[in-house]
Amino acid sequence: MPTTNEQDERMKKFKNKGKDTAAMRRQRMEVNVELRKAKKDEQILKRRNISFSSMGESLSPEQEKKNATAQLSLEEIVQAVNGNNPELHLKATQTARRMLSRQRNPPLNQIIEAGIIPKLVEFLSRNDNVTLQFEAAWALTNIASGTSDQTRAVVEAGAVPAFVALLSSPHMHISEQSVWALGNIAGDGPMYRDSLIHNNVIPPLLALVSPSTPVGFLRNITWTLSNLCRNKNPYPPLEAVRQILPVLIRLLKHEDKDILSDTCWAVSYLTDGSNDRIHVVVETGILPRLVELMGSPELSVVTPALRAIGNVVTGTDEQTQMVIDAGVLAVLPQLLQHPKPTIQKEAAWTLSNIAAGPCHQIQQLITCGLLPPLVELLDKGEFKAQKEAVWAVANFTTGGTVQQVVDLVQYGVLKPLLNLLSARDGKTILVILDTISNLFLAAEKLEETEKLCFLVEELGGLEKIEALQTHDNTMVYRAALGLIEKYFASEENPNLQPESDQERPTFNFSAEKPDFYTF
């Protein structure tokens, strides 16, 4: 006899027909291959400090004016930086910086090939010449904003320790430029990110955050912090995450939308992982504010906040419950109806993972009025949002009680669900067929199979399922065939197979005992 505990285990299996909730929850897809254009709503990895942009200009107006007319060729620059004339050092660095800050076709590779990077790095340590320091930092920032190879050129010249040191420069424009450069290096990938962390970048960086830090500077810091949180394989070290999180929570209280956006991106990176990673974030109590920001009027804030929350509900039932307790179900309806299809899609994905939970969480979906917008999205949403909505319905019907499934049907899920059987996407079709099968299991328990058959046929579903029996995908046509044979086969289809013409009077009946049975 199973102990009570084992019984619970089995009851759980029974409810979800052998799929456990972890398997139903769908992590953000590990996309190794992407056919689409890179997403426009992703956060920027690296940024160049472009000349005449208000910020760069305002930082050093007088030098800018003084040297506005100075022009040197690349060879002259090389000569100058390698020479001993401090004035020419500045002039050359400044010219190089200007070239690198051009709006169009900055000559990153030419500058790298000219071999002046080691010199520029050296200039970073020239505490005696603040202007030179600044110009070198700016130039290197822009080189580091390029491709991985270009970033590597900066790192391999030993820029990291120099920049980390400059974070504590008494001159704010220098420490700010260093923050920027380090952000670009961190954005290159997990390797440089971790090497920054090992160079102890975090304490001086966090020290820069204070109530008196100007907003523009704070934006740069936030962005660099977000790059320090970014990327998996491997994740940033847990210790670093623990150091950064309290500051992120402070930044989340800010009013500036860029700061909020980048902070939310940071949180979304930290939650994009296994349950213990999620745990580190949610235990800080950050969730209510994140949920609040999902309702922000700014798309640039909503997008990462929603992502972060979407990531958290891929976690355990308890973590998901914390999200629910933070009030997510009050915000999701408006996001499911958001004018941007990508927001609809992310919202539906989030919903699908909540629907993968235990039935008391599913009940909260019903109570909080999530079903009407879900059905609406299934009916009229953009295709990629509809696909997520299908998953939500599928999970709902897998884990929900019979009554909950009945509720779902009464909200009109069938018609749009069946319509999507003509979608041009095999996987979606298969998920719908599985869902229909779940609906029939519920109907069987209520002895209303016939009624469901009627509805499915009336709504044009039967015809579509029949047509799917000729689908080219084996799994799709098998699923369609299975449904037809189980629920829609008319009286019977005689089909006999003949075989064998052996003439024996009767079978023999005999048994020999084997040595020993063990079962």
Partner: protein, 993 residues
């Protein structure tokens, strides 16, 4: 020709070829191969087959495929070239795939050589051979592309620059066969990596080729043969576009959407006299291309709406113009239905509503797109008269998905989503004017009325099922009024053969709107329908039969039939007469609709048919005899047997003694069917016999006993379709005649058990074996099976040991518990332990306790509950041997059986078996609904409520050994189970001592 000589040649050749596993690429070998290929084309199988066999026997040799390729390239004989190419393709199909743990069937050097040459060969061959090689490439590609065939793409793309469109088309066709799987495979990293690779290498060249081809089309606008080649390319390119864009919108195509869509758009509007074909049936290149472009636009509209939005309105206009200007010929059907479906899917989307809402637009769509495509065309008329089966299938059963009428209907429904009022208004005007045209001169203008009826139907029907007809109707259309004014008059006309199409329309109208038309109108229609069973047109009398059948299945209040038997009294005779008469029309002698109507009429009329039974059963047996010569219509046959079963049930319910007269009427035909081994009918015959035998109140008649030995013949049991009805028939024998078998046919018992043994050995049929075994245990006198009991258990233990499945365990549990109920718990324990010491304990511990939760079915669970109760309370070894330690776990399992949900999990490795072999999944078995068996509960009389029974039995046990039961319970039973148990004790009003 002497056979000996032939064989001599084969043997000699065979030896020469087999001497080494490598065939030289020599002229002699090419010559030999040519000879054999020639022979494979010989119509005489005695020459063809050995040659085919021979070729297969040498195909494992190195160089064999290269010999074939050499032949198809160099042979002088065109027939041999084609034959070599087909043989090569089949060889690739059979052998190319490398299956794990099996030998590689093609040696590596051959593989490399084939891949190195085949593209070039394909492209330089004439079309017939090119097609075969192209197929072969795609088979190879499926296995090797891209990793093991990295050059393929570059090789293909390079050919684009050749400028030779024969070559280019070959490449495009091959690419299509390689890439078309992107349309149906599920997203995976592997698949997307491949697609990405293809896109990187292929998308730009394809786009360049697309642009270049379009330019060439305008420079060669006056050259018909050049245009044909160029348009073939464009079709292939458009297909490739669909495949490459199917999984997701690739970056490249998003960046080049302008190029593609602008050109697609202008191709949609393009026309060129030189490309028009005279053929009315076959779609021409222009149609095929435009049709594919509609598909491409529909793909983008459905999946990439956000990106496609700027282009969509242009496509709507172009496609709509295309529809307005496209003719009625059959060759345009696919294009028109694709184009209409595109509009139908777009007009339902809320953000495109504005494209349609203008009144002029709506009117124009209704007038120029919908109405013309609803017209009854010459081709329809032809089908109505000469190919009525096909016509009915399309019109009645909804296999019309690709037809114009259907597409037009879908567009009406789509438009009604937002514009129901205006659309209904526009069409009402049309319907009226068409009806007026008809009224002016019916015999000339009857097609106008047909269109009017079709329009009303499509406008009014919002939702529909086969069983109920229309279930939701447009409230703006007055269906009853139209019925009374325009449908009934046609059906009331004295001449049932006049305007058959309109009659069929009218009958169909009744059929589909049966839930909207009031009952009194349906009652008025019934005699009209019965009358039309006499119409000569197959469509008309078939529709009449079908309409009646549908009306008879309608439900009224209290779930009773809407049309009652009493209301049918005046029509019984004419209905039955006309139905059977309709079966005598040429072309309708095995009409399944009529036979189904007969079945349904019997079922509705019940005892009202009894006076006619002698004549009915005579006609049915006559029909049975006739069709048994060559059974060809499965549905017809099925309904015929159902009708026979109904006749038996209805008659014998009123007069049980009548069973004898049925046996008299039927057994002769049945005997013939069994003797002639009419395989399609044998399962039905067994079911009817079971029904008849179960009707007998007394002992089994001798006529059945005479048949008994024949039922045990192995040959009958070899066919899976026979097994369920035969098992049921044997169960009926056991129920009615166990004593007779024991006394008069005891020598057949081993044969009967042999059937059990045969069934139990199969994972698919073991449950049937248990059905039989359960009946034997339940009904046979114990002494008649005594000597076999031990062997039975040994067989079961062997299956349990060697190949147990969940299904087997479930059946096994039911059986041993039934045995326990019947023979007693002690007997069960004794027989187990006599086979092997401590066996009883092992079965309890390893099978019963852990698996009992899996038993399904009310009766089955009850049997198990009573059996286990007996083991707990009537089996002394459970109380005083080492088995005692199992007592509490067994009790707990029993309480679990009562209280926990059924465990329907299936181990992973059994999923396959689950699909193929579970009861009820056997399509080979044609179960008759009206031969149905009532559920049988072998413990029914003995135990009513098994929980109370458990309580009472425990009470009895506790009085026999006071103190022991409560102490066991209190020390080891878990709290939850104990609570349940106390509930049972309370309900039974007993306390344990």
């Amino acid at each position: 020709m002497g056979r000996g000589a032939q064989e001599g040649i084969y043997t000699a050749a065979f030896r020469r070829w087999l001497d080494s596993a490598v065939m030289e690429l020599s002229d002699a070998n090419l010559q030999t191969l040519t000879e054999y290929l020639k022979k494979t084309l010989d119509p005489d199988p005695s020459i063809r087959r050995p040659a085919e066999k021979f070729l297969e026997s040498v195909e494992g040799n190195q160089n064999y495929p290269l010999l074939l390729l050499t032949l198809l390239e160099k042979s002088q004989d065109n027939v041999i070239k084609v034959c070599a190419s087909v043989t090569f393709k089949n060889y690739i199909k059979r052998n190319w795939r490398i299956i794990e743990d099996e030998p590689n069937k093609i040696c590596e050097t051959d593989r490399i050589a084939i891949k190195g040459n085949i593209v070039h060969l394909m492209l330089s061959s004439p079309e017939q051979i090119q097609k075969q090689l192209s197929d072969a490439i795609s088979i190879i590609g499926r296995e090797d592309f891209p990793q093991k065939w990295p050059d393929l793409l570059t090789e293909m793309v390079n050919r684009f620059q050749s400028g030779d469109f024969h070559v280019i088309n070959g490449v495009l066709r091959t690419a299509h066969s390689l890439f078309k799987r992107y349309r149906h495979e599920f997203k995976s990293n592997e698949l997307w990596t491949e697609i990405k690779l293809v896109l990187d290498a292929f998308a730009q060249p394809l786009t360049n080729l697309f642009k270049a081809t379009i330019e060439l089309c305008s420079t060669h606008a006056n050259d018909a043969s050049a245009l044909k080649v160029l348009f073939s390319s464009l079709i292939q390119i458009a297909k490739l576009f669909y495949s490459l864009n199917f999984q997701d919108l690739p970056e490249f195509f998003e960046d080049h959407m302008e190029t593609w869509m602008t050109n697609f758009h202008s191709l949609l509007t393009l026309d060129n006299k030189l490309l028009q074909t005279d053929d009315e049936e076959e779609a021409g290149l222009l149609e095929l291309l435009k049709s594919q472009i509609c598909d491409n636009a529909a793909l983008y509209a459905q999946k990439y709406d956000e990106e496609f939005q700027p282009y969509l309105p242009r496509f709507v206009t172009a496609i709509w113009n295309l529809l307005v200007t496209t003719g009625q010929e059959v060759k345009y059907d696919l294009l028109v239905s694709n184009a209409i479906q595109f509009l139908a899917s777009v007009c339902e989307r809320p953000h495109y509503k504005h494209l349609f809402e203008d009144q002029n637009t709506l009117t124009s769509i209704c007038e120029k797109v919908i109405v013309p495509n609803m017209e009854f065309r010459a081709a329809d008329e032809e089908a109505f008269e000469d190919n009525s089966e096909e016509y009915i299938r399309r019109d009645l059963e909804g296999s019309d998905i690709d037809t114009r009428r259907r597409a037009a209907c879908d567009l009406v429904r789509g438009l009604c989503k937002f514009f129901e009022g205006p659309v209904t208004g526009i069409f009402s005007g049309y319907v009226n004017s068409m009806l007026q045209e008809y009224a002016k001169n019916p015999s000339v203008n009857w097609k106008h009325k047909d269109a009017a009826i079709y329009l009303v139907t499509s406008l009014a029907s919002k939702a529909q099922t086969q069983k109920h007809g229309i279930t939701q109707a447009n409230e703006l259309v007055n269906l009853t009024e139209f019925f009374v004014n325009h449908i009934q008059p046609d059906l009331k006309s004295a001449n049932v053969n006049e305007f058959p199409v309109l009659k069929a329309d009218g009958i169909k109208y009744i059929m589909i709107f049966r839930n909207q038309v009031p009952k009194e109108q349906l009652l008025v229609s019934i005699p009209l329908l019965i009358n039309h069973l006499q119409a000569e047109s197959i469509v008309v009398h078939t529709y009449a039969a079908h309409a009646l059948e549908r009306l008879f299945t309608m439900r009224g209040t209290n779930n009773a039939t809407l049309i009652t038997a009493a209301e049918m009294v005046p029509f019984v005779e004419v209905l039955l007469t006309n139905l059977f008469k309709a079966l005598t029309f040429p072309g309708s002698s095995e009409n399944e609709y009529i036979m189904k109507a007969i079945m349904r009429s019997f079922s509705l009329l019940q005892e009202a048919i009894i006076p006619y039974i002698p004549s009915l059963i005579a006609q049915l047996t006559q029909k049975l005899l006739a069709v048994s010569k060559n059974p060809s219509k499965p549905h017809f046959n099925h309904y015929m047997f159902e009708s026979i079963c109904l006749s038996i049930r209805i008659t014998c319910k009123a007069n049980p003694a009548a069973v004898g007269s049925f046996e008299e009427a039927l057994f002769m035909v049945f005997t013939e069917i069994l003797q002639n081994d009419v395989q399609e009918f044998i399962p039905y015959v067994f079911q009817v016999m079971s029904l008849l035998l179960e009707m007998h109140k007394n002992d089994i008649p001798s006529s059945y006993m005479a048949l008994f030995p024949h039922l045990l013949q192995p040959v009958l049991w070899e066919r899976t379709g026979n097994i369920p009805p035969l098992v049921r028939l044997l169960q009926a024998y056991l129920e009615k005649g166990a004593n007779t078998i024991a006394s008069a046919a005891a020598d057949k018992i081993p044969g009967l058990l042999g059937v059990f043994q045969k069934l139990i050995a199969s994972k698919a049929n073991d449950h049937q074996g248990f059905y039989l075994l359960n009946s034997i245990i339940e009904h046979m006198p114990p002494e008649s099976v005594d000597q076999y009991r031990k062997q039975i258990f040994i067989l079961l233990f062997q299956r349990l040991q060697n190949s147990k499945t969940t299904k087997f365990i479930k059946s096994f549990l039911v059986f041993i518990n039934l045995y326990c109920v019947k023979y007693g718990a002690l007997a069960l324990q004794e027989i187990f332990d006599s086979i092997q010491p401590k066996m009883f304990g092992m079965v309890l511990e390893k099978i019963i306790i852990p698996e009992i939760q899996k038993v399904s079915g009310q009766v089955e669970k009850k049997i198990c509950a009573v059996g286990i109760t007996k083991i707990l309370t009537e089996c002394p070894p459970m109380m005083d041997t080492e088995y005692t330690k199992l007592w509490i776990p067994l009790l707990q399992a029993l309480i679990g059986l009562f209280e926990l949900p059924e465990d329907d999990t299936i181990p992973d490795e059994e999923h396959f078996i689950d699909i193929e072999d579970t009861p009820g999944y056997q399509t080979a078995f044609s179960q008759l609904a009206f031969a149905g068996k009532k559920e049988h509960d072998p413990v029914g009389q003995m135990v009513n409520n098994p929980k109370i029974h458990l309580a009472q039995s425990l009470h009895k046990l506790s009085t026999a050994c006071p103190g022991r039961v409560p102490s066991m319970l209190s020390t080891s039973l878990n709290a939850e189970a104990l609570q349940y148990l106390q509930g049972y004790l309370q309900a039974a009003s007993v306390t344990l001592l």
